[in-house]
Subunit: 596 residues, 2 copies
């Protein structure tokens, strides 16, 4: 059975040494009552509940899966009790709005909680996972009455929240959706239709579930401009807001799927269910994007969380499994063989995993910090700048983290050889669980297109500059630091490559509408590699600065080794990506459909 | 439920137009009775049994899995009957030695049968899969008595054959194995020990199973030089070779694993089981490598077979699923949306799948042809040359095909979005099934090391030259062909890159024993890409030559489009791989174990 230990030291490194959470706390008045010590304590507590309560249910949850019987969904053994403990300990409220009972911790910290949840039990994490974002959407778009009725219970985790977009014939293209909403005299709506792939759409963990449902008003225009957002509560509420009779919402079935088997993926039927309009009529997609964008960041962090636990277990195995001898001669001559960590190719896989995970963690916290600045910086211009940055990098976090996360989990499985393929060892579950993250909340292909079209081209590269200028600034600061040149030079080359390719897209995408999509996946990977290169250069600079005389010399030495590995063995991929992108869309678009 | 249609036209193209099976038939006297027409008929029949008998059992086999009860293994519903039909139709004997009842078809053809089996039902294919190779090993190494006793039933498929190497503490490093063999007075041996991960080690398809078991004689030296090979029959045989009492061989349990769930992966216990020595004492590894090398080629083809069926189903979905509009404007304005095959990123995935699959098929048949030449060419020097080529490229087929196969299956899943993750659609099974192929028969890391150490360095690059000279020859032939320059130029660049990196390894690997392993995986991928580049250039040349006035203009046009796609969007990866390899082993080896 696999194990998990939260990487607290690295989390503290990223929070404090790389991105100075203290700076954030001092900048945003809403964090006045939160101190770095309090954050440390929260991380320690989060580690405990993840390591001791949630992780032990991960493998049994996978084996048992969810059950669907007579219209009711049951979660695996232990999930209900675990959720109760999780909820009563206040975890759902950790980053929620204090106006509704939340604890108001920064997203910069919460992203690390999300990572731990994904490492310990990603299926479990998906039940409370959307609730925070659903509460945010209600807070930003709904009436005061809806806010006061639903947000407190969502904040406390007494109820969970889910989002309902997909229909059988409509996934990425929401303009096709058919679920309909008929207006009632009392201001409510009757919602009818079928939604599929609803994560946590029904379960037995809480007494009520709040659905945010995209539907079409009777007189709505066709396409995406005719979509409205509705709140549909599984149970109607009584006058005193206590739970009343069932609304006409039912679960039709649950999917049997590759992984996240302990998370119920539901078909949900609405049969004249009572719903409440959230936000303006026909502006539902905008309101839903509040949820989606928050979720996309969380899904990216799933890639990291699963990559981290895969690394930990692969490392334990690589240090324990005796097989063959080191190329330079036995390192453990007293044993029958050396541990497989001596082999260059095993080290290649372990270092790749470590390099991607730690860069992703640094990047996630950096983005989390910008989410906090977007919402809480006292200066409006700074808020806008932060919002633009978050918008720019959201597809990177969602898609690049999860593309890399699949590779990392597969490497973990590979290190265990045959044992990696056997369920008992748990490595194959990580691969199955992480695979969904490339799909849900907008496939990675959609993310890549979003990055090129909306985040690069739509503003003529202005948002990109927010990123590149920060990298430039760092490079200039390090220009006279000799020890840093081995990191700065490859970073600078990658940045130049990213800029060249971005300029090529700005110059060419207008001429041929297929160019954006043709370049998109490679561009997203090029961007992700450059961003991770920046993280590694920055971490190396800090490590070089602190290493002398430090009691944690090993920790900083490992950072420098891993940074060097990243620069030399992973970052050079950008050059082939550039070459591929510059060949343009012709080879993709020329072949007629019938010739495939 | 997924579907499968054997790609007969492309198989014929590769067999006849690319590699001229007729040439092989004329060169090797043993194939005198086999004609191209007969081969066509065999392929058609193979297609039929795969499409109509084996593929329909693939998904149900995965869902039901194998059962282990009271020491007995049961295969899923329908497998026993399917095996009986398969066996009675003569398929196990297709490429087997006519001296023992085989039909003696070339491996060049058989590799396509193997592809179809992997596409239609890889779990099923693993039961008969090893039998042919086990018979070969007995034929090459055992006594006449053992040959006459066991090979006919293995050839007919009345019995299956399995190989038993791995033990709980010993996988890649066979020198550690402990299963012991004690000599009896009658020339037999008592075999005792436990083997794990034995594919098809027990099952209910045939009345007997022939195990080839690696074990250690009582007085054997330690390490790999003290390993002998034994034949252990599940049932002892009576005087008349009919099945007698059970030998002391038992199945202890079967593994629960990520995929190939309908293939029984067994723990096999030998408790003073009667065994017969095969080959010389202490030379068991050499004899077993006869089996392993044949199997490694077949495992590579598993990557292709699963990649092919993933492509077919992804393509059907991409032409059927309506979602969004083409970037250049609606292609199907009469429909609610365009099929997703209009989107550049979906085309990128489909073309990547198609380009890898078709190159792998061409390469597999080329290697199969060399296997035939190795065994049957009348000239000894030609046989040796072919043997050297097969040795060189075996790790490429095993590891590169399966690394690429995983990517291809994952792209197939991705094209279906959420439906790809749901078991019902079958795409996620392909990913789970293909994943084992990177592990068994020697992990892909072991293959990569084998390629660099034994196939490149050990003969000072001489075997590599067999490959590069053929590419050179082709390039020179095309030098005055203007239409071919767009393919020749990138191929030539890739070949130069492969040569440069090979030379760097020849120059540097001696100085530092870690260099071979450090470069190995990237080198294998660089080699694989160059080999596939050669396949595409060759196929493009044939297509350009035949296209004018052809009734199959579409087929040849698709080849040219796909070749162009491969050259522009996949082959450029070689440049980053070169850059990574040339950074050497330092970044992999420098970090002390305790810092991971």
């Amino acid at each position: 059975m696999p194990s998990y230990k939260a990487p607290i030291r690295d989390m503290q490194f990223v929070l404090q040494e790389v991105w100075s959470v203290e700076n954030l706390l001092n900048t945003c008045p809403n964090f006045a009552e939160i101190s770095p010590d309090l954050i440390d304590a929260v991380l320690e507590e989060a580690a405990k509940i993840n390591e001791t309560l949630l992780q032990p249910l991960n493998q049994s949850g996978d084996q048992e899966g969810c059950q669907f019987d007579n219209g009711k969904v049951s979660t695996p053994k232990g999930f209900k009790e675990a959720y109760q403990t999780y909820q009563e300990s206040g975890w759902p409220a950790i980053a929620a709005d204090p106006n509704y009972g939340g604890q108001g911790f920064p997203q910069m910290v919460n992203t690390l909680n999300e990572e731990m949840l994904s490492s310990s039990n990603v299926s479990f994490s998906l039940y409370p996972g959307l609730t925070h974002a659903v509460a945010n959407a209600i807070e930003q778009h709904a009436t005061e009455e809806l806010k006061n009725t639903y947000i407190p219970q969502l904040t406390s985790g007494e109820w969970t929240g889910v989002m309902c977009l997909t229909e059988p014939h409509c996934g990425s293209d929401l303009g096709l959706l058919r679920t309909k909403a008929e207006s009632n005299d009392d201001g409510t709506y009757n919602i009818s239709g079928t939604k599929i792939f609803i994560t946590g759409g029904d379960h037995d963990l809480t007494d009520n579930i709040v659905h945010l449902v995209l539907a079409r008003l009777t007189d709505a225009p066709a396409g995406v401009k005719g979509i409205s957002l509705f709140l549909v509560s599984k149970h109607k509420l009584n006058e005193d807001n206590s739970i009343g009779e069932r609304n006409h919402v039912s679960c039709g079935s649950i999917e049997h799927k590759m992984g996240i088997k302990a998370s119920a993926t539901c078909v949900i039927n609405y049969d004249n269910a009572v719903g409440y309009l959230v936000g303006e009529p026909n502006r539902g997609l905008n309101a839903m994007f509040t949820v989606m964008n928050t979720e996309r960041l969380a899904i990216g962090v799933e890639g990291l969380g699963l990559g981290e636990v895969a690394y930990q277990n692969a490392l334990l195995y690589a240090k324990d499994r005796l097989q063959g001898r080191a190329p330079q001669g036995a390192t453990h001559p007293e044993k029958s063989a050396d541990p497989i960590i001596v082999h260059p190719n095993v080290r290649r896989m372990l270092l790749t995993m470590k390099a991607y995970n730690e860069a992703a963690r640094a990047f996630a916290v950096w983005v989390g910090m910008h989410v906090d600045l977007e919402h809480h910086h006292p200066d409006a211009e700074q808020r806008q700048q932060a919002a633009n940055f978050v918008a720019l990098v959201t597809p990177i976090v969602k898609a690049y983290f999860t593309d890399v996360g699949l590779d990392v989990c597969n490497m973990g499985l590979q290190i265990l050889g045959g044992h990696g393929y056997v369920s008992e060892w748990g490595m194959e579950q990580f691969v199955r669980d992480v695979r969904i993250a490339q799909i849900y909340e907008g496939t990675n292909g959609i993310q890549a297109l979003d990055l090129v079209r909306r985040k690069l081209l739509a503003n003529n590269g202005e948002h990109l500059a927010i990123f590149t200028e920060q990298v430039d600034k760092f490079i200039n600061e390090q220009n006279n630091n000799n020890a840093m040149q081995e990191f700065i030079e490859p970073l600078n080359n990658a940045l130049t490559t990213l800029r060249d390719v971005s300029q090529w897209l700005l110059d060419n995408a207008g001429k041929n509408p297929a160019e954006a999509g043709a370049a998109s996946t490679e561009y997203l990977h090029l961007f992700g590699l450059t961003a991770f290169g920046f993280m590694w250069a920055k971490m190396a600079a800090i490590a070089l600065n602190k290493i002398d005389g430090s009691a944690e010399k090993d920790f900083y030495t490992a950072k420098i080794h891993t940074a060097r590995f990243f620069m030399q063995r992973l970052l050079p991929k950008v050059f082939s990506l550039k070459q591929i992108i510059l060949t343009g869309s012709n080879t993709l678009m020329a072949m007629p459909e019938e010739l495939f």
